[in-house]
């Protein structure tokens, strides 16, 4: 349920639950973050005759949501969770060693040793690993960079500064979106919803512009997708820490109180060189490899074809 996932937001970056209004702002196509110039493969699909009208478009959108949409939603949720957990404690357990020879805090004191940028690079690498097409990777990074530029002025926060520093060439779009969502006051579920929503509204709008489709018909298609959007956002949160840690009713309260409290506990455990016990020792971020990784070869091919089309109107 939504409450199980989301209501820890009071422990996040804002004291008041501002998430709903922030979600609207974040998902609005009027957010000045460069999204209007991305078609998510729709332009190439139109060029190839794969999308010719509302029926084709509906199938395209449904497929996109079930694959790329779900993956970006899950990454956005994970990024939002990471941002929320590290907002007040940047050297929390997300900063722990990843097995690649990047040690965490050397034990010199709370929050002074671990590089807060490190978990962001790890999560960004998870996004990279889930994006097969180089053209899509580039488009995603451009969108992420533009979103971060915009979000840092609208919802300034240390976390967004850290992310910008961690991936200077531009974090992947869902990572930037999740971090921006947290800074805006959204919870992971809302971040996932924004990502899932954007994954279909961008292509839908592009199709309206490129084919001159009836905008009301296309919005009807989007409305028909509402249940699937809910499902995608929910599924996107399945791999988050709240589900990684077994959470019976008794533990719910602990989780809601927070991410950050857990963070401190785990952090000191790590700093003391003593592994924390049981499931709670499972570091945040350990679930990232299990995030959805659905592939959409058709979207990959569309992205690559689009890159080579000299007559394109959209960035992707």
């Amino acid at each position: 349920m939504r409450q199980d996932i989301g209501d820890g937001r009071g422990d996040g970056m804002r004291d008041k639950p501002t998430g709903d209004a922030a979600l609207l702002l974040l998902a609005d196509s009027r957010l000045p973050a460069g999204g209007h110039a991305h078609s998510g493969g729709a332009e190439e699909a139109v060029r190839l005759g794969t999308i010719t009208g509302p029926e084709d478009l509906a199938r395209f959108l449904r497929g996109r949501l079930a694959t790329a949409g779900l993956v970006t939603a899950a990454l956005a949720a994970a990024a939002c969770e990471l941002a929320t957990a590290t907002a007040d404690h940047p050297a929390g357990p997300y900063g722990q060693a990843d097995g690649d020879g990047n040690p965490p805090d050397a034990g010199t004191g709370a929050g002074t040793g671990a590089d807060p940028a490190h978990p962001w690079r790890r999560l960004d690498a998870e996004a990279d690993a889930r994006t097969a097409s180089p053209a899509q990777r580039e488009a995603s990074r451009v969108q992420g960079r533009l979103l971060l530029r915009t979000a840092r002025r609208i919802w300034p926060s240390t976390v967004l500064d850290t992310l910008a520093r961690a991936v200077p060439e531009g974090a992947h779009h869902p990572i930037a979106l999740g971090a921006a969502a947290a800074s805006a006051g959204c919870d992971p579920y809302q971040a996932a919803m924004a990502a899932a929503y954007i994954s279909v509204t961008g292509p839908a709008t592009a199709a309206v512009r490129l084919l001159g489709l009836d905008p009301v018909t296309v919005h009807r298609l989007l409305a028909d997708l509402a249940p699937a959007l809910n499902d995608a956002a929910h599924a996107a949160c399945a791999s988050l820490i709240d589900d990684v840690v077994p959470n019976g009713p008794a533990q719910n309260g602990a989780i809601q109180n927070g991410a950050t409290h857990d963070g401190i506990a785990q952090n000191s455990a790590i700093q003391n060189g003593a592994p924390a016990n049981g499931a709670a020792a499972k570091a945040r971020g350990s679930g990232w490899p299990a995030l959805p990784g659905h592939t959409a070869p058709a979207l990959d091919l569309l992205a690559e074809g689009h890159l080579n089309n000299p007559m394109k109107l959209f960035v992707s």
Binding site: P32, H36, S39, P90, G111, L146, R149, R152, P310
Partner: protein, 232 residues
């Protein structure tokens, strides 16, 4: 945690950066020709960068690169997703990113020109993107266009009416255009050009030079200045 070093330019803070000049106007009015002319005239004395916003990706950028008026690497193209005015007004993120990329790669620069995609009379540059803007019309669009107004015609810092050489051929009355433009522009300047005959756009280049000098002077001596907006 202390604040991180913030490497993000704030668009509202003009201090220490190049003047950003928007050039907008309808399709075919001569925007790209004007950009090429300005590069020809100003290139020898100024450090320039150019961002184009084409309908089709790189058409204008390629034209400028082939024209050989500027180091091709100093010309970046931005895609606008069928909505050229959105990219210069409502959502300027991609253009700002391109402008700052040029400044990072080649800076410090004196002037960055942002050429909009061909659009209609309602298009205008956001103040978050352009410090000053030129709107380019041409006489073959009809001598009634200045009277019709629109933000580009009425609010641009400079209105350029191009292709004066065609006036007799299309029956356009330059006097009417001049009078109508003056009536809606509240004293802001209007220049008539024929870029086909004057490939260096002499008068416009002079206006831009003066603008850049004023900008530099203001930035060097007036740190209080915070609003790079058009004077009323």
């Amino acid at each position: 945690m202390g604040a991180q070093h913030d490497d993000l330019h704030d668009a509202a803070d003009p201090h220490g950066r190049a003047l950003r000049l928007g050039i907008g106007g309808p399709v075919g009015s001569g925007k790209t020709a004007l950009v090429a002319a300005l590069c020809r005239s100003l290139g020898p004395s100024m450090r320039l960068g150019v961002v184009t916003n084409d309908i089709y990706t790189t058409e204008d950028a390629e034209f400028l690169r082939r024209a050989g008026v500027l180091d091709p690497e100093r010309i970046l193209a931005v895609q606008t997703g069928c909505c050229p005015h959105t990219a210069i007004r409502d959502d300027i993120a991609a253009n700002l990113d391109a402008v700052e990329t040029l400044e990072e790669r080649f800076g410090p620069l004196d002037l960055v020109i942002v050429e909009s995609g061909g659009d209609n009379l309602t298009a205008t540059f956001s103040r978050g993107l352009a410090d000053r803007q030129i709107f380019v019309l041409d006489v073959s669009g009809g001598d009634k266009v200045p009277r019709k107004g629109g933000p580009g015609v009425t609010m641009a810092d400079l209105l350029v009416v191009n292709k004066t050489d065609l006036a007799p051929l299309v029956g356009a009355d330059l006097t009417v255009m001049s009078r109508d433009a003056a009536a809606v522009r509240d004293g802001r300047p209007v220049l008539f050009t024929s870029l086909r005959e004057d490939r260096s756009a002499h008068s416009v280049a002079e206006w831009v030079t003066s603008l850049v000098n004023t900008w530099k002077h203001a930035n060097a001596h007036d740190h209080e200045r915070t609003t790079p907006t058009t004077a009323a």
